[in-house]
Amino acid sequence: MAVCVQTDDFDVAAETEKLIGARTDIGAVVTFTGRVREGEGDKRITSMTLEHYPDMTEAEMSRIEAEAHARWPLQATTLIHRVGELRPGEQIVLVIAASAHRQAAFEAAAFLMDFLKTRAPFWKKEMLLNGDSAWVDARETDDNAAGRWG
């Protein structure tokens, strides 16, 4: 289990190798990587700034991770979230879930993302091409996604 908040980029392959190495009890590895998109519809962003609540963030991420381990038989998990200024195409968040079987790995990775999106104290502000900036609104679909885990 590993949880990290960092300004630096992450290397998915290196993180996977660190998590799994030569283990032979892992049959399924699911990774999720979130990336900054340039826009949607007419909106064009030049960069995105991620603010967080330093003293709470890693604690909350560890709680989310522990909850996943309580729900599924997981061999190993990694959660990395970047903060600071990020440009389109850059990586924001990484979740890795490793298990003996694929269903647990898929479900745990989706669960971890749903709860990172709705529980971990991060906030995104977008700098738009037209010079404006705006805090990203929480999406109702994210609350709905988190709600499905009961």
């Binding site: 991620l50 909350e60 924001i92 529980r119 104290p121 906030w123 805090w135």
Partner: protein, 90 residues
């Protein structure tokens, strides 16, 4: 018997921080401020910037001692209360 003064560290994030105009402050809570909701009521009396930050009451979220709580949560011996918009990480 008078209750000891309760000093609480308040933290603000994202647009709550921007509207209030600071990222943190320490306040001494009156004895009748019992819940998170009471604390918001009390802050709103301190100036228009708080009124603006908490205008959408049901949108602003709170954490007490770094744990998410509901507005009805008791402050008890809390040392740190944070207010922020719904999170948008991931």
């Amino acid at each position: 018997m008078t209750a000891a003064p309760r000093n609480v560290r308040l933290l603000y994030f994202a647009w709550v921080r921007e509207k209030i105009g600071r990222d943190a402050e320490t306040v001494e809570l009156p004895s009748d401020v019992v819940t998170v909701s009471d604390l918001v009521d009390w802050l709103e009396q301190r100036g228009p910037e708080y009124g603006e930050a908490f205008a959408r009451r049901n949108v602003v979220r709170a954490a007490v001692d770094r744990t998410h709580v509901k507005p009805s949560a008791l402050l008890g011996t809390a040392r740190e209360v944070a207010f922020f918009p719904p999170v948008t990480g991931g």
